[in-house]
């Protein structure tokens, strides 16, 4: 307490002495400092927001153009549109911040940890769990599976009641989830071995084309689309970080050549598996 008051007294005296000479300089510096601080604060808050607004600008332009010039209608409920767009912009900014601080670092640190541990079985188990776990609950997949069950029921492949439709949809979801799990395992295996990606992808294409020739016609469109819906917004950054992390922690692998490609596998295998499901059930 005593120390502190003495310190204050000294500070006062010093300030008094310095006052006459440097008051103007000091106040300017302080002001500049505050201004700089506020500016950098505001900037760090708003610059991600500005860049997400820039990301969204094309959508807004397209909608405005077609609405005004082609359909020649006023935009209904403009207020709601603006609030919604603001939500999207803020959400995108937060998501990207979360990518940089959460998803990317954890994906990479796990890849490093598995590579250092050198336990292949656990790495494979992790890869499968990641592929299966992120796909089975994917809302887009649930929607597609329901749609496919409807198609199958109308085509007379399964009896048209709720029970058989929901069991068909569940079976399809599990099939796709298993196929994504296998895809991630195969992709990780490729990174470990350093195989060139195109042989596997071309093999996959051949598989798809062959299956197309035999699969029932109704399932083909759904099967082709199912490849696109399995890779969700949370899975993609994690899986990418895992692949790049693995490739950069193994000697002799190039993160650019070997690190990418897991997503490509994950969107290829579901097509084959869904057509197979359509053939056997």
């Amino acid at each position: 307490m005593f120390e502190f008051s003495r310190y204050l007294g000294k500070l006062k005296r010093d300030l008094y002495k310095a006052r006459k000479v440097s008051i103007s300089i000091a106040s300017v510096t302080v002001f500049q400092g505050i201004a700089h601080h506020v500016k950098s604060r505001v900037f760090s808050l708003f610059s991600p927001l500005l860049s997400s607004i820039r990301d969204l600008a094309p959508i807004i332009l397209v909608i405005a153009f077609f609405q005004i010039f082609v359909l020649q209608q006023s935009i209904p409920d403009l207020g709601r549109l603006l609030i919604g767009t603001l939500f999207v912009a803020v959400g995108l900014a937060l998501f990207i911040r979360g990518l940089e601080t959460g998803l990317f670092p954890i994906g990479e640190s796990m890849a490093y940890a598995f590579a250092r541990k050198g336990n292949l079985a656990w790495l494979i188990a992790f890869a499968f769990a990641l592929g299966f776990g992120t796909t089975i609950a994917e809302p887009a997949l649930i929607a597609v599976a329901g749609e496919a069950a409807k198609v199958a029921a109308e085509a007379g492949v399964i009896t048209d009641n709720d029970e058989s439709r929901s069991s068909y949809a569940l079976g399809l979801r599990i099939t796709v989830a298993v196929s994504v799990g296998i895809a991630i395992v195969a992709g990780v295996w490729r990174i470990l071995k350093g195989w060139p990606i195109h042989y596997l992808i071309i093999g996959g294409y051949v598989g798809i084309v062959t299956m197309t020739a035999f699969a029932p016609k109704e399932i083909i469109g759904i099967a082709y689309d199912s490849g696109g819906v399995t890779t969700s917004t949370i899975t993609v950054p994690l899986v990418t970080a895992l692949g790049v992390g693995l490739a950069s922690s193994i000697k002799g692998r190039n993160p650019m050549v070997d690190g990418f490609g897991l997503i490509a596998f994950a969107s290829l295998t579901p097509m084959i598996f869904v057509m197979a499901y359509g053939m056997f059930f």
Binding site: G84, P139, I202, G221, T231, I234
Partner: protein, 264 residues
């Protein structure tokens, strides 16, 4: 109030989506790796950001962009709108009477891809891994153009009713050929960019367009012809990304040759 409830609901759904992933990651981290997570606080905060950000993003899309986008897709494919553009005396709808639909498909495909969060994630990663050689915007524009072209062609396919798999198989053949001529560094990334294009933003709008077309064009069934746009949107970016890399490499080589010739 309604908006708040929607936000809460979507937040819970997103939490449900993230939960299995969090369980797998933290389960393996604690039971198998058995090491404390580096920067655990920062990582958890990052997860919260992802959660809140995604929930806001989805609510905003559902509140604002999806309703109007879907409405526009329906209006543009509506026979009455198509009829107004027809000037010939035949009054028969031809494939080129859908010109506004193709333009809409192209522009909305490009625009939604630019805003696609998972593509931003991959582009950021590719930028840092390549040491800045691959620009974040360059990749996104290349992928966006691929999706745009793919969806426009997909709309044409639905209008004409040609079988989906012919297009896909031809696309595969082109991709395979390109693979052997494209720079090796880009191949894996190009394959990946096919899968990332179609998630949160693109799929709902594109599906609305596909279903709208398939249910209004005479002779098409939404069940058989309504699908397939997503497949196109994930095939064409592979070609454009490799194509961009090929052009960049070709120009590089040309300017290098030019320079060495000048040196001689």
């Amino acid at each position: 109030m309604e908006l708040f409830l929607h936000l809460l609901d979507t937040g819970l759904t997103t939490l449900k989506d993230v939960l299995p992933i969090a369980v797998i990651i933290f389960g393996f981290q604690l039971l198998v790796i058995r090491r404390p997570i580096p920067n655990i606080k920062k990582t958890l905060i990052g997860f919260c950001y992802v959660l809140i950000g995604l929930a806001l993003f989805l609510v905003g899309l559902e509140e604002a962009l999806f309703p109007i986008g879907k409405l526009m897709a329906q209006q543009l494919t509506h026979p009455e709108f198509i009829q107004t553009g027809i000037t010939q005396s035949t009054k028969l709808i031809q494939w080129h009477d859908y010109k506004w639909v193709y333009l809409f498909a192209f522009t909305i495909g490009f625009a939604t891809t630019i805003a696609e969060p998972s593509l931003i994630a991959v582009a950021m990663k590719a930028h840092s891994v390549s040491g800045g050689a691959i620009g974040v915007w360059g990749l996104r524009v290349a992928v966006g153009l691929g999706v745009a072209f793919g969806i426009a062609l997909g709309a044409f396919r639905i209008v004409t009713g040609t079988p989906l798999h012919y297009y896909i198989i031809v696309g595969y053949v082109v991709v395979v050929f390109q693979t052997f001529y494209a720079p090796r560094l880009i191949v894996a990334l190009a394959y990946d960019s096919g899968g990332v294009t179609t998630s949160t933003v693109t799929v709902p709008l594109v599906a609305a367009l596909g279903l709208g077309l398939a249910s209004t064009v005479p002779g098409r069934s939404p069940l058989v012809d309504g699908f397939g746009l997503v497949a196109f949107a994930s095939l064409f970016p592979i070609m454009t990304v490799m194509g961009f890399a090929q052009v960049a490499e070709w120009r590089n080589r040309k300017s290098k040759r030019h320079r060495s010739e000048q040196g001689d």
